[in-house]
Amino acid sequence: MAKSELLLSGKDVTKIFSNKKKKIIAVDHVNFEFKSGEIISIVGESGSGKTTLAKMILGLLSPTSGEIIFRDRPIELKTREKRIEYWKNVQPIFQDPFSSFNIFKKVDNVLSDCIKLLNIKLKKDEKYKKIEEACNFVNLRFDEIYNKYPFELSGGQMQRLMIARVLLIRPRLVIADEPTSMIDACSRASILDALMKLRDETGTTVVFITHDIGLAYYVSDKIYVMKEGRFVEEGFPDDVILNPTEEYTKHLIGDVPKIESRWAL
């Protein structure tokens, strides 16, 4: 796949939540361009509108104004068929791995359902072979997950399984909404590595949403810094992190605990 192909873009995307008393502008005239094969980070503190933007890209919320264009066409999700078609191309990885699986289903069934979604008829052992491959991809042994319910797995395992699920569907775009915030620091690196491997080997675009600018710096090709619904700074990670121009970005970098120097508290 050509690296420079434009995959998803947004023009003046705005979302306003309102009731009689209050009007909250969650996302305020945002423009973006995601190219295929990139890892893009969206960084900002809680309440800056990161998740709202992610939900709009996923089609779970519709924008108040502006439009999101996926491969030259505005996204349209009126009918069930169109939604399924779109979600084959765009897949999420959510923040909380403990609630992203169906707790009544064994996890390998969840994975084989994804294969069913693609409308390919496979024999049972072929199906399991495919699942096994996906598990190996994210460094999980198949017998670790075979015949198990979600509660029997750890958060890190479940989050990696989520990536394996995405790998089976092979979407064009993955929206990872704070995929590491519920995971402890020790398995965080394995999730990030799995995401980077997914991009390297399948050419999937990954939108990585986080509040920790350190993770964004480690993982991404491009960083958007979001504040109160607007992008205040965007650019390559080396420019944004090592030479920030906006006060807000400097502030975000200063708040991340570092090991070069201690905070003066």
Binding site: A185, C186, S187, Y218, I259
Partner: protein, 341 residues
């Protein structure tokens, strides 16, 4: 030498499940906490950090049971105390706890001031509502928290504000020791820094004398703790001063942890992070030998046979591994060389 506020010796706690399994979540843990210090406990999820926090407070409720060892607060063994004694004399006054999920720790039907009234009335006899209000307002002012929070309901507060309120409530009786169990894991980095500043302020102003800070986030621990203990599968595998443990880890597990740190500093981008392979052992089985041996890159046959005891490098530094410090250091150097070539 500073006064020892808390002494934990060979503490062992077990969970008994309904399938008659015994899970030893805290196994043979010993440490001291001195006046004015902040002790950090690091480790991955499920290694027994929170169970240790519960055990230190004598909070033994089924399925958690006490097995052996002692916890002395100010020279008194709290394990032998009855529930009422513990509640009257120790909890809140000597030792206080900040829970992990501050979001759900506040009663949603009560104003903040009512929650503070509950705490004060329970522990200080004959105190009036006006006195409580005065104390609470003063405390909020010194901690730079807005006073109008007192009249609000928890739902009106943001996550960071809720956590700060929980901290203010749990330290209102000036406990000597504060146990903070992942107080910032649900917050974003900006609120995290504000909460950490508040905790440091509490020590500086003398409202609390010492703190135990539990987290899995090592850069954060480095910024707040004076000493660090690394826990693995219920055991302490390494302890020492923060600088030493972070920059010069001895145990293979701590070394693995330090290599997975991600910070926004030059050199992180493109750096290959090492991930410790595998998962921790299931504690319901009787474990022989070193618990880390299955995942350890440097494990030998002898590691799997006999129990490993803590070795002391000096007074403050100790680790749990059969190998000598220089042997381990050499292996790490070789590992680094191999990674670069």
């Amino acid at each position: 030498m500073a006064e020892k506020l808390l002494e934990v010796k060979n503490l062992k706690s077990v969970y008994k499940t309904r399938f008659n399994e015994r899970i030893t979540a805290v196994d043979d843990v010993s440490f001291d906490l001195e006046d004015g210090k902040c002790l950090g406990i690091a480790g991955e999820s499920g290694c027994g950090k929170s169970t240790l926090a519960m055990s230190i407070m004598g909070y033994y409720y089924p399925p958690l049971f006490y097995e052996s060892g002692s916890v002395c607060i100010g020279g008194v063994d709290i394990i032998k105390m009855s529930y009422n004694q513990l509640r009257e004399k120790i909890l809140g006054k000597e030792i206080a706890y900040i829970p992990q999920a501050a979001m759900n720790a506040l009663n949603p039907t009560q104003r903040i001031i009512n929650l503070i009234e509950d705490v004060m009335k329970e522990h200080v006899s004959g105190i009036t509502k006006n006195e409580i209000k005065k104390i609470a307002e003063e405390r909020f002012e010194t901690l730079n928290l807005p006073k109008d929070v007192l009249q609000k309901y928890p739902i009106e507060l943001s996550g960071g504000m809720k956590q700060r309120t929980v901290i203010a409530i749990s330290t209102i009786l000036n406990p000597k020791i504060l146990i903070a169990d992942e107080p910032t894991s649900a917050l974003d980095v900006t609120s995290q820094k504000i909460v950490i500043k508040l905790l440091k302020d509490l020590i500086k102003r003398g409202f609390i004398k010492a703190m135990v800070f539990i987290t899995h986030e090592l850069p954060l621990l480095y910024n707040i703790a004076d000493d660090i203990m690394v826990m693995y599968a219920g055991e302490i595998v390494e302890s020492g001063e923060a600088d030493e443990v972070i920059f010069d880890p001895i145990h293979p597990y701590s070394n693995g942890l330090m290599n997975s740190i991600i910070v926004p500093e030059k050199g992180i981008k493109g750096k290959k992070l090492t991930v410790i392979p595998g998962a921790p052992p299931n504690l319901k089985y009787k474990l022989e030998g070193c618990r880390f041996s299955d995942r350890c890159l440097y494990a030998k046959d002898e590691c799997k046979i006999s129990k490993v005891n803590m070795k002391y490098v000096n007074n403050s530094r100790s680790y749990r591994c059969v190998l000598r410090v220089d042997e381990l250091k050499e292996m790490y150097e070789n590992g680094k060389k191999r990674a670069t070539t």
